[in-house]
Symmetry: C2
Subunit: 336 residues, 2 copies
């Protein structure tokens, strides 16, 4: 294991000089010594020991990213955006997946705190559970107290900088668009009642329908994934249009209808949310609300790394979704 001391000795300089040459420093080093050190480092195959560097500097070059599930393209896209920014800044990314277990989320924040990561990004919906949220906040506060930076993608519930997708607004806009196509009787595949992202999308959707004087939609709860959409779709009765609160659930719904011989969009229209890139080639192509996921991930990291602005209010940056009408929804004659 080659250490900086080896390099210094080999180059005939002091430890301090070697350090100044090889790792950024404000101090200048004379050209001849500088060359000697660089050559010695190359010859010996020296690699900085980042642990020692982190210890000495008191700051690491790592950021932590906590997501629910990397195989969910939603989180993969967020992660991709965050990693793009991280690379630009010369930072490494430590990824933790909670698989939707809030306890694990808390534990990972503690672990990332122990790692003294520069910033923690929390992606994914908060859950409506005051006890868990309080303990997560405590853990985050502990982290923040020692200089840690935090940003979230999702709801502004943790007193941290947040990139907040316009879930309610996007769903409302979608509801109005679908109503504009002539739909009157809706069902919502609503996901888990405790998931705030799901809640917001449901309430935005139903609120907009109410605003148009339309009857309340049928709500079917279930899991937030493909199978949840599949199962929930089977319980839909008497609707011309089904809104699944995310694209992956919409895919499940499409499969469910297909398996039962119900045609989309002829017999029922289906809409989702997120506009996952991998799913854009579905047939029928999915009407949805587009979120700029990769940019949201990137933006969240930028927020976290931005100027600390001590004691200032945490910033919340709203991102609005854009309704994209595609083949999975069809227009109805006014008589429906």
């Amino acid at each position: 294991m080659v250490t900086l001391e080896d390099v210094a000795r080999h180059a005939g300089v002091s430890l301090a000089t070697a350090s100044r040459v090889l790792n950024g420093s404000t101090r200048q080093v004379g050209a001849s010594l500088r060359a000697k050190v660089e050559q010695a480092a190359r010859q010996l195959g020296y690699r900085t020991n980042v642990a020692a560097q982190t210890l000495a500097r008191g700051a690491s070059n790592v950021i932590g990213l906590v997501v629910h599930d990397l195989t969910d393209p939603y989180f993969a896209a967020l992660a991709d955006g965050a990693m793009r920014v991280a690379e630009e800044q010369g930072l490494m990314v430590m990824v933790a997946t909670t698989h939707r277990d809030p306890e694990r989320e808390i534990a990972y924040v503690a672990t990332l705190n122990a790692q003294r990561v520069r910033a923690v990004l929390l992606a994914g919906s908060r859950i409506a559970n005051p006890g868990v949220t309080r303990r997560l906040r405590e853990e985050l506060d502990r982290y923040r107290a020692t200089g840690g930076r935090i940003a979230c993608v999702g709801q502004d519930l943790l007193g941290a900088d947040t990139v907040a997708p316009g879930n309610a607004e996007g769903a409302a806009e979608l509801a109005r668009s679908l109503a504009g196509l002539g739909h009157r009787r809706f069902a919502v595949l609503a996901g888990p009642p405790w998931l705030i992202t799901a809640q917001d999308r449901v309430s935005g959707f139903t609120g907009a329908l109410a605003g148009l004087g339309l009857p309340a939609p049928q709500l079917v709860h279930g899991t937030f994934d493909r199978d949840g959409g599949y199962r929930a779709a089977a319980e839909v009765t008497d609707a011309t249009c089904v809104f699944a609160v995310n694209d992956v659930m919409a895919v499940g719904a499409l499969a469910s209808f297909r398996d039962r011989g119900i045609r989309v969009p002829q017999d029922v229209s289906v809409a989702g949310f997120d506009d996952i890139a991998t799913l854009r080639d579905l047939v029928p192509s999915l009407t949805t609300v587009r979120l700029p996921l990769s940019d949201m991930g990137a933006r969240a990291l930028e927020l976290a790394l931005g100027p600390s602005e001590e004691a200032q209010e945490p910033r919340t940056e709203r991102v609005s979704g854009e309704v994209v009408l595609r083949g999975s929804t069809r227009g109805l004659t006014p008589q429906g």
Copy 2:
């Protein structure tokens, strides 16, 4: 910033005792002191400084994972499997995405070496470029020389433990299955010529056709992603069955045919490779070769962490793919 020394003082014990209580040690500590230390740690909100721990122990609790692109579900599935094992072992995962740039891959290995990660997992196809491969090997050797462990998913080209999918064999088996359906004239959307995974799948496929006495397929090269499949499909002439060397390309091919009014499978059959979970709900559902991606990622990490078996030959573990015939391919009458 609470340090172990603060905890020790607060508990009225020595640094050594506090360390032994709070971080695993073979040494026993008496019950009363142990309780005092634990309480002090809790009260003060102590979090181990992992950088210091890593430095003192000379070993970190982090593994590095190098992938091409996290938004590609292939890599997401591999990463998911690796992270499952990592969590079981109490390790954190640092993820680096190369976006298929081999220079970045080399640079990331150097960075992960500097981080003194316990193991590096290299996922994704090697490229057929001796110069780059040599420099990557040099960097890996440097890492290995200091005790680093390495495993790959893909080709056994780096002298490291490898989980090697049976690309050639799987493609050959697929070719035989498709021939069994009556197909005689094939096209292969072959991806980039320098990508070894793509090469292997192409050669396995064409080899099997030759073995059956069938004419060589039309080869169309292109990028390894959805758009590559889309574009390559447009150049196919006179084939009853198209093999895209991965599922994502097959999705592009399906879209291309659809856009041009060519029906799948009535007018042409399409097959892919990998059996990506997110794409299982496509219509027509994709004939493909299933790889246990998540398990492969998990296995790779297990190999890397396994007993070091000094100077032993690197182990290569073969994983075979399983042909899954689905709706995107149809049987032809013997006359074709």
